[in-house]
């Protein structure tokens, strides 16, 4: 299983992600600079959190158009797993690899706190090590996590099981529509989520519930659809 991590200027949870993957898989992921046009051979591509290009213009907008993203798009089309966390999720929506948009938090403030997430769909390659409907704690840290999609898109992702993680209604930190915290594409190989499972993988973090997402992705079920 080869993992690569895309780094943009302004990425800042790349180090957290590298540490998490290294701890969980025993192997250090390959770092890929945004100006590259080709990806090393990878089974899992991760776009980490941060403020790529300062999040200026819109979060993830400039990064989504960086040279490496064409390679990510081809890989995603070829069925390779792609995971975007926080800024990574924003980049994936801006790149059109996931539907919808992430807008400014309803409270207009950056928010860093622990929320509760419900695993809405454990039949994905990213979540099969969770129980269906399991509630897990997980930290969030973002300014633009307010998921929005038009009603047609929303109906579709809701009915097709593409909503993978939802905030419990009392812990929705950003006003996201239907409490959506993470979604997967139709093909089931591209997942984006706002919370930071990489900051919840060991006792020192106060829990290891985030680890199961990476363990799922690093040991995908064979041949599953979303």
């Amino acid at each position: 299983m080869k993992t690569s991590i895309n780094q943009f200027p302004g990425s800042n949870r790349d180090r957290d992600m590298i540490a998490a993957i290294t701890k969980i898989s025993g192997a250090t992921p390959q770092s890929v600079w945004h100006s590259e046009t080709e990806l090393p051979k990878s089974d899992l591509i991760i776009i980490p959190g941060g403020f790529s290009y300062g999040d200026y213009l819109r979060s993830g907008a400039i990064a989504a158009r960086a040279p490496i993203m064409d390679a990510v798009r081809s890989a995603a089309d070829a069925g390779i797993m792609v995971l975007g966390v926080c800024n990574g999720f924003q980049i994936l929506t801006e790149a059109g690899l996931l539907p919808g948009a992430l807008m400014r938090n309803a409270g207009l403030k950056f928010v860093c706190k622990q929320v509760n997430l419900k695993v809405e769909n454990n039949r994905t390659n990213f979540t099969h090590r969770y129980e269906q409907n399991q509630i897990i704690p997980c930290p969030v840290a973002h300014h633009d996590g307010n998921y929005f999609a038009d009603s047609e898109t929303l109906n579709k992702i809701e009915s097709e099981g593409q909503v993978v993680f939802r905030y419990t209604p009392d812990t929705n930190p950003n006003g996201s529509i239907n409490d959506i915290a993470g979604i997967i594409n139709e093909a089931g190989n591209v997942l984006g989520l706002m919370p930071h499972p990489e900051n919840l993988i060991e006792a020192d973090h106060g829990g290891d519930e985030g680890k199961y997402l990476f363990e799922s992705a690093l040991h995908p079920m064979l041949d599953t659809a979303a």
Partner: protein
């Protein structure tokens, strides 16, 4: 150099949390009679192009490719 102003606004029906907060802020300051506030962005761009038409073409392309997120935003280009 041609100077242009690009205006990017949220599509109708897209919730605007910043606009809402500003409405609240304005009423708190005692302003009354405010129906709604919607926030948008402008980009003042200087560019070198052989004529206004070429510039317009370029500017529209910039919007479509980067400056606006057409999932949620509309844009408008104006040469000043």
């Amino acid at each position: 150099m041609i100077t242009a102003r690009i205006t990017v606004t949220l599509k109708n029906g897209v919730l605007d949390p910043q606009g809402k907060a500003i409405e609240g802020g304005l009423s708190a300051l005692g302003f009354s009679g405010i129906g709604s506030v919607r926030q948008g962005k402008i980009f003042d761009v200087e560019l070198d192009a052989k004529d206004d038409n070429t510039a317009l073409g370029e500017l529209n392309a910039m919007c479509a490719k980067l400056l606006a997120n057409t999932v949620i935003e509309d844009y408008h280009v104006e040469i000043l």
